[in-house]
Symmetry: C2
Subunit: 612 residues, 2 copies
Amino acid sequence: MKSFCGKMLEVDLTSGKAKNILISEEMVKTYLGGRGLGARLLFDMLPAKTEPLSPKNVLIFLTGPLTGTMVPGSSKFVVVTKSPLTGGWCDSYSSGRISLELKKAGYDGLVIHGRSNHPCYLRIDEKGVQIREANLIWRKDSFETERILRESEGNAPVGISSIGPAGEKLVRFACINSDLYRQAGRGGVGAVMGSKNLKAILVKGSQRIEIHDRKEVVALNRLNHKRAKQSQVAQARMKYGTPLTLNITHTGGILPTMNFQYGTWEKALEKIDSIGVHKSITAYKACLFCFTHCSFETRINEGKYAGGVLEGPEYETLGMFGSNQLIDSLPTIIQANILCDQLGMDTISAGNIIGFIMECFEKELLSSKQTGGLEIRFGESEASLAALRMMAHREGFGEIMANGVKVLANYIGNDSNRFAMHVKGMEFPAYEPRGAFGSGLSYAVSPRGACHRRAWPPAKEILGGYPPYTIEGKAEMIKALYNENGILHSLLVCDMPAKFIPMSLDDYSQYWHAVSGESVSKEDFLKISERIETLIRMFNNREGFTRKDDFLPYRTLHEPLPDGPAKGQCIGEENLNKMIDEYYALRGWDASGIPTEETRRRYGLLGENEIQ
Amino acid sequence: MKSFCGKMLEVDLTSGKAKNILISEEMVKTYLGGRGLGARLLFDMLPAKTEPLSPKNVLIFLTGPLTGTMVPGSSKFVVVTKSPLTGGWCDSYSSGRISLELKKAGYDGLVIHGRSNHPCYLRIDEKGVQIREANLIWRKDSFETERILRESEGNAPVGISSIGPAGEKLVRFACINSDLYRQAGRGGVGAVMGSKNLKAILVKGSQRIEIHDRKEVVALNRLNHKRAKQSQVAQARMKYGTPLTLNITHTGGILPTMNFQYGTWEKALEKIDSIGVHKSITAYKACLFCFTHCSFETRINEGKYAGGVLEGPEYETLGMFGSNQLIDSLPTIIQANILCDQLGMDTISAGNIIGFIMECFEKELLSSKQTGGLEIRFGESEASLAALRMMAHREGFGEIMANGVKVLANYIGNDSNRFAMHVKGMEFPAYEPRGAFGSGLSYAVSPRGACHRRAWPPAKEILGGYPPYTIEGKAEMIKALYNENGILHSLLVCDMPAKFIPMSLDDYSQYWHAVSGESVSKEDFLKISERIETLIRMFNNREGFTRKDDFLPYRTLHEPLPDGPAKGQCIGEENLNKMIDEYYALRGWDASGIPTEETRRRYGLLGENEIQ
């Protein structure tokens, strides 16, 4: 098939050996690439119940069949592994030049096994892979690592993904950085990379990526570019970027404030929202192959952190370091973001954890004696930044923080788990589900934990006219969103242009044809998505996840939201259970959340390893 | 023997194998260490007529029996090899923590053979040596290289020697840098290291260095410290450092000006001399184990290069980049020095070459057409700095400059070799021999080419009351200076404290006893020195050097100096020949400069490989 060359590079860091794996065309038609192919590979390659940070875990980098084909948002890749944060399925997305370079080097992806007996990095090109010593970049932050690696290639354009100190120290929410400011952020994929003693991956390709009908891709791009120009949403997003979301969530009453105690924060407005951030934008940025430049660069102009430069901050960071911590200083949030990027940590989990600790101090469940002197109260930005360094390096109390909010709440005890905002161990992102019940369901059933990427919370319940404080139709809504995004994440195109322009699965069907010469309908896509979702569910079941893991924290279920448009709302256990029942039924899973034999047969998933 | 453990590390970069070589006590008593032992090892290990930049050349790092013993100036080491600049003997000295760390790791020195098939660096400790990949530091400047290596050791105190881009590009006067600002500068030892694909050597030791009578060393130090306090010379040197020399050479009329056309330069005074430099000193510096802090730090406070920090500049750099190029801007000279250090080039050779090119432009023997646009005229500092970058990277005309002034003059032709100021291919340092005939002899007969370190030119003829413009007694004077310094350079102590305090060979005899428990008289020392000098002569003879190579440039011999106290003087061919005859006779060498059988017998050098 054009554009998907069917070759993956498999490296065993324990033995130092590498080989190619061939992916059949049939496999691509069954699972596409990215998320789907990743589900298939992880299920097949990972021994059941593998400890995520053991050498036996598998770290998979995947592109998709549209990667590097000029399709808008087609410079993304996904890292698939078993998460050290949740112990379950993890797919973590990023954009980065590495996706393009992998393709140009003749690979659709990369499968990494084992553990090197010394710090190493991979250098990949058409000739294959070299496992090189990384003594000189080990302990360096991600920016420095990337700089040194780029310079080692004479600053030629190469793709680089790396981990920071947090990944080396196995911080359970460590991320993988690419092109400085792009992160495969969620689920601790950076810790898995660190556990393999793998500091970085450098890829340099030079082959042309084959496309069935280049002219047709260009024609579709022209059409969609025109539509983007006419789209008010796209125009607003290109002007304001994701910070626009803060105005949407504040208006909808789902802006997490003070560790999800409240759902609105007036002080955020014009300071850390679209208006506030817009004033600090120094340049607009776009990923490779994307004309919807939703990204931008900001610069800290004054104060202690003057000079700091960032691509971002994105909404999630504004929410988790801003309202959630009661910090209204944009320079502080930018600095926190830079620090997280350099240290190699997910801003969402890190910000959530700090917010949780702030609430623990507020409630006097934690004292500075316990934290070795660190005292973090809502609104105190210096302490927040200090906490980031501690958790990244696992210094002092950072040793506890580095394991995520779930472990932290267990450590602190005293019912603090009631407001430890996570699902399956993965921290909530910056959307308050009490103001959008469907997003509560989405958090609960998402296979990777509390996740906003498979069904963007504001899409329907704030912006789409769906009543937010009911459970009716939410299971169907969430399933539809999951299925659609499942395709984007398997073709491996960014969901931003899809949302902004907007582009439907029919549009991607046209791109698919232009790129591969093959025809696939929207219906085919949706069936593939169902298959993928079921397989991932089976993977999690195999790893020990049952219905009880599809849960929401006490606060979300039982504490009414005290402010904003959703004042008085909480989801309630009964509501959640009803939504889950309905969701399972729609998926063809039994009441325990296990795919039925009939469902498995329908998607060709019979004969898999029995669930253990 | 205490303090000299008798163990050397031998590494073959071609095979990747390493082993220990044991040095007998007898060998130490016969050759001491440093220069002497280096002569023995190079003579024995290097196949005759080896091409200096071939894998067969041997690169030897040596400490001495006083290294790391608290004796003043005992943190020096020497690099011994066959020079790519002269094709003959090369010993190049530097101070640096690496000398101490080598001792602490249990080694007296390091012998490097072969060529790695990839850029590498060595990491050495008590457990031995690792040949590590250097992809990530290859192409980096010396400062950056050292920074990255230090960080890779968590910034623990380690010894590091490295090459810059000039060494990688085999620039024939590339140096080896240690501790940022210390260079084994002369003779192209950095190019030999580069030719081996060896970017750096990192040494970390932790053993205690054994000393026979530590109390006695401390007592001697106390005595000499007291003497240093009472010495006006030492006090002046500690206040002004080597820039004081500029005032001495200007006064004596031997300050090279405009590529050795003149011997004085009024404009240098109070700008780039002791007074001028003293104003820019921001801190004083001393090497490890030295209480005569002759070094200092300067900072560029304004202009284009503001912010530049340097340990230095030393006199040689002030002379070769200042008066010799007619540049009276201290910031420019500091910047040139920083650049040379970063790029890894000897400031003396580089400054000399640029001065030569300036004269070629002045005499219209060279046009910017030939140099690819570069036009360098006396006093033009920007062009001078640009030339440094070009030669280090061998860009454009830099390809020619990188081979030294001898090759450059051959390329330019038109009798430009008459003012190509070098001996055996090694560029003159900053002393004009027409104002000190003995130093002319010293340049001519020094085995490594035009060298000021074995017999410091101003010592006797400017400051010592010896008449400068005669040849009488100069051979004996030079021999005596060579012999004394030969011991310092074999014990491997710095000659600065020896000169400033001053300390005699009797003083070092006392230190030797305190350190080793053995007795050696001044007479023993001098015999050893004669032996060493004869062996080195034999080495050079073997490599093809004859009396014709003990020469001086046309300008020095035939063009009367036009200014200053030495106005009207030039050495003349007859004078030079007489001094050389006398020098050979005093050494026991025949009229062709070949040690006689009797001489070789006297120093135990019979039975060596026959001279080829």
